[in-house]
Symmetry: C2
């Protein structure tokens, strides 16, 4: 375990959650590309419901985080953008680089908007995560209060893209972060430019939003400004 990942976790459980996330992402992809007949789709639906029943045999209580999560360290295995266990996540992989956060992703057919291209709203989803991670990396966690995205060109599916985010302004509880997305094959031409404003909630807001959140052992576990632990991988990690 390295410091940036937060406290130690059950490595076997992490491996299993990651394996299931991978398998579900594959299933989601197959479900939008498939051309099998209706009866095979219905059989697959029955199979999916069976798996659902098996997974529902034990559930964590509402408000209790996964035992793999560490909110102060921003480790969230079910993040819909970067979570290793999330079937919704592309997933986006982020790492630290020279005072900023950089990342990469490849969007499959499940993320399509206009035919052949990424859904415009997926760009907003991804950039919110990238910009938020840059704020966290700078020790400035906050909740999004404004997001602006400019679209210079459409992002093709099944094509590797590079992402980045960097804090450009920080004053009190407010942090401004800018970032972009470009094709990995043409990294200097931004197809997307984004700007996010994040604000750390006041103590009374924090209490009102997060007072019932606990970690898996039942201890209160609100998000907050991190110490030395941030979600992006260090620059020297593959």
């Amino acid at each position: 375990m390295e410091t940036h990942d937060g406290p130690p976790y059950d490595a076997e459980l992490m491996a299993a959650v990651t394996e299931l996330g991978d398998a579900l992402r594959g299933l989601v992809d197959a479900s939008v590309r498939t051309a099998v007949p209706a009866e095979d789709l219905r059989a697959a639906a029955a199979g999916a419901r069976e798996l659902t029943t098996r997974l529902a045999a034990a559930q964590r209580p509402a408000g209790q985080l996964s035992p793999l999560d560490d909110v102060p360290a921003f480790r969230r295995v079910y993040s819909p953008v970067s979570g290793v266990g999330s079937a919704l996540a592309p997933p986006v992989v982020l790492r630290e680089a020279d005072g900023a956060v950089v990342g990469e992703a490849t969007f499959g057919l499940a993320y399509e908007g206009p035919p052949g291209f990424l859904h415009g709203g997926m760009t907003g989803l991804v950039m919110d995560q990238v910009l938020g991670a840059a704020a966290i990396h700078a020790g400035l966690w906050g909740m999004t209060v404004r997001l602006e995205v400019d679209y210079r060109g459409p992002i093709p599916l099944d094509t590797r893209v590079v992402l980045n985010g960097r804090v450009t302004e920080a004053a009190g509880r407010k942090t401004v972060v800018t970032g972009s997305i470009a094709l990995a094959s043409d990294p200097d031409r931004a197809l997307i430019e984004a700007r996010g404003v994040f604000v750390t909630p006041r103590a009374e807001q924090m209490a009102s939003y997060f007072s019932t959140v606990t970690d898996a052992s039942g201890r209160p576990s609100p998000p907050g400004r991190p110490t030395d632990a941030t979600a992006p991988l260090p620059a020297d990690r593959p």
Copy 2:
């Protein structure tokens, strides 16, 4: 078949795609709430890989739409926001209302950002779709060129929200749409306000972006300004 849904489609296939979409959304939800041990997660992963193999037995070619899609009518069964067949979609249900588009959605744990609340970026994803649908409803299809989202308060999970979008400006190829999200229980207090700018690509851009897109029969099928066919349900549909 009603006009707004576009040309007729295979109702049995639509029912099967919808059933699989429902089943996968249930599976995604179960996968983030589960507390079963690692070996059960691995067994579920194996089950998901089996389903993937079955669905991959036949695939539509790259660039070929689902036979259920009708791009001129904006019927997209795998939309990651509103698609009945998409495991990623909440799904958001949109309908026409008094010159605007209104909708509703409930976001489960799979869409979590800060503990207990919707991921800030999911808001951008959803609003892009709502604003784009309002443009389409007004006969003004375009691709997103700018999206602005203001966050007045966090959106709680597992809580019904109402959405709306309305064209506020249209000139030439450019359309400006504004919209909001509020709790269904407090619909006049917007938690999210958004503004989108959409531009219909020039003919040469359309050709460069979409010339290889075909419908399931192989005919070219680019998106474009709709006639009387729009994606939202009419106001009198339940």
